[in-house]
């Protein structure tokens, strides 16, 4: 039984060391095979986003910057996050002064 304790000296910290951390990073668009089709920079309007996605989880700069909590599945598809037990990715949408989508990104593990 003593060996269990000594094995744990290496095994437990090694597990945490190897598995304990993920980086919040922008997902390259090539990894997203099927995005919500209506999301087009320079074209999509904020009202359309709000109508389809509902209220955003976070809003900055008087609503010019919206964050939705989504999940990117293994097939590269984005889903609005419904089950809070799983990982959360941040879908960030930036609108210009005319409420037209200017830029957007998907940040893996980007929710708080």
């Amino acid at each position: 039984m003593r060996s269990v304790f000594f094995a744990s000296l290496i095994f437990l910290p090694a597990c945490v060391f190897l598995l304990g951390c993920e980086t919040a990073r922008v997902v390259p668009s090539a990894e997203i095979v099927k995005q919500e089709g209506f999301i087009v920079e320079g074209k999509t309007r904020k009202k359309e986003v709000l109508d389809r996605f509902g209220p955003a989880q976070s809003s900055f700069e008087s609503g010019a910057l919206l964050i939705y909590h989504v999940q990117l599945d293994e097939q590269g598809r984005i889903h609005l996050r419904r089950d809070k037990r799983f990982r959360c990715d941040a879908y960030v949408l930036v609108f210009d002064s005319h409420d037209v989508l200017e830029r957007h990104s998907l940040v893996k593990n980007g929710c708080r």
Partner: protein, 146 residues
């Protein structure tokens, strides 16, 4: 170095905790736990050029939004060692860790005017990190006392 600052050092905390708890402390190279902000993205954000939107587009949702979003902060945890508890047939490892923060300050037009990394056990209470972010030139304890 006074006694208080010695005890606040992560390595010293591990040793002291190990002695007090009669368990085995193990020091490891500092490494992150949980979700960590993208360090390359942090480095790419340029003071005077990048905007609030650039920060959020690259790092995601911040942990703290302060003073009408003039300040944004991101937090993650770094482990410096582990306390090993064990007995016949069972063992557990408890990380000894400290929070780290990225602090961003923006001008009224949304342009980034300052970015800092705050690290160390002195920020184990978020209030101290928040005060240091919002008042970078002041002593942390003085800011807390205000």
């Amino acid at each position: 170095m006074d006694v208080a600052s010695f005890i606040l050092r992560p390595a010293a905390r591990i040793l002291v905790a190990g002695l007090v708890a009669a368990c085995l402390p193990i020091l490891v190279p500092p490494h992150a736990l949980g979700v960590v902000p993208d360090r390359d993205a942090f480095a790419s954000l340029a003071v005077g050029v990048s905007r609030r939107a650039d920060v959020v587009l690259t790092l995601g949702e911040p942990h703290y939004r302060l003073d009408g979003d003039r300040f944004l902060m991101y937090e993650w945890t770094v482990a410096y060692g582990y306390l090993i508890f064990g007995g016949p047939g069972a063992a557990a490892a408890l990380p000894v860790s400290a929070p780290h923060y990225l602090c961003f300050e923006f001008a009224p037009d949304g342009r980034l005017v300052r970015k800092d990394e705050l690290a160390g056990a002195i920020y184990s209470e978020p209030d101290k990190a928040i005060d240091k972010c919002m008042h970078p030139s002041e002593n942390v304890d003085e800011a807390i006392d205000r």
